[in-house]
Amino acid sequence: MAKTELTLADFAPLAAKLLADFQGANDEITALDQALGDGDLGVTCRLGLQAIVDLPDPPAEGLGDALLKAGMAFNQAGASTYGALVATGAMRAAKYAKDNGLVTWDLPAIAAAAEAAAEGIMQRGKAQPGDKTLLDALLPATEALKSAAAQGQTLAEGLRAAAEAAAAGAAATAPWQSKFGRAAWLQERTIGTPDGGATVVAIALRSVAEYVEQNT
């Protein structure tokens, strides 16, 4: 039967899949952050996801609360620019879930929570689309989720569309000049390499989409 929503029961297996996928993607992410930054982004993702997998008790108050705790754990173990933005996004998504009394998340809920997360990240980081940051993957992905939800697509279809939009968004950053974070100091020398953080968003969404597909 086609999976239509994510629940608290998905939290642990999804976290485990993300960790496994990021272990596989480590070298790619490291290479991108070495080119435009300091090379720690792969380590950050691995440590952050490991901390989520290691969270002591399965969080009790629903997926939103689990997401909040996951965001905090990610940025405690993998504190960094990326960690802070992940934590901020998770916090906002959790707030959306709480404010809307969400227990399980269907595609429209996921789209709305992603939008809330992106807004939070923009407030914290002050970056705009086109500044060559993770937003250039996250914002197109959010749009894809919203339009898939509006068109009544399945959860799997919506997440697949989001993952593809994120991948396209990340790839599109290559010819741009970085305007935020460590990469900004490199000025013109950033032109030609895609942004590592945007690539991470694309990898994460691909992992989530695969999880839903595999569990359908």
């Binding site: 300091d38 720690d40 940025n75 504190a79 460590r182």
Partner: protein, 333 residues
Amino acid sequence: MKKLINDPEAFVEETLEGILAAHPGHLKRVPGTPRGLMRADGPVPGKVAIATGGGSGHIPVFLGYVGPGLCDGVSIGNVFSSPSVEAMVEVTKAIHGGAGVLYLYGNYSGDIMNFDMAAEICEMEGTRVATVRARDDVISAPVADKLRRRAVAGLFFAYKIAGARAEEMASLEEVVATAEKAVENTRSMGVALSPCTIPAVGKPTFTLGEDEMELGMGIHGEQGLERSKLMTADEVATIMTERVLADLPFGSGDEVSVLINGLGATPPEELYILYRRVHQILQERNIAVVKAFVGEYATSMEMAGASVSLLKLDDELKRCLLAPARSPFLLQG
């Protein structure tokens, strides 16, 4: 690159254990976090407390500048990554002497976002927190955009000056003003001859040809101005010093402090050969050196290279520069 380490993932914890074992009279752990250290005699009642922090891999930055006349506490991140908000909050609580806390650190987005979150939490809990960020690297942005520049070794001057001002029992506003002035008056530029390797990554952050160097390199292996053929020490010193001098600008009659910082693998002899040329240039320009620091003040593990930092002094900055300070890495006065 070969390293004398054990498990790469234990690099930070084992470094901290070694430092605490070696210097029990100087440093102690902050309760509630494995990633916080503070001066052994802290908190100091009535004194503005200075908290710093940042990624590992830069010793003596950051934890080497904790002690009387310097910072009160430090939160420690993974190699080249920010400390966690949790560590920052615990450090803030532990060092607070009732007169407010200054967050003094380098202008890096990971540190900024996390310190800002920590400040929000601490202020909610009733602790006054102010922030000053060092941003001395002239290569990282044009002067018009200087608030976006990154910090390199010149952060040392901010610690030395702000630490001394706080030790004078100045108010939080006064310490902030003096620290800001030190930051505003500091300029640096660096050069790298070889890369460094994050232990948990296991391969170098960048590569350089056998006859190449990177001008304007940051202290995390971020690229700089341009790659060029290896030059002589005099040529490198001249390029860096002239760029630094022009940026503030420093001019005839100024009094300065100079810091020649080694990034890790460059021997003291070479740092002094660089200083020799910097000193000549300053003499030619009628700029007086009040105090010179030559050595490893902010490293990037085993990276070869060096930077030149200049701090323009006024009476207050001079007094704070020359005031006593005491840590396992810096003893003065």
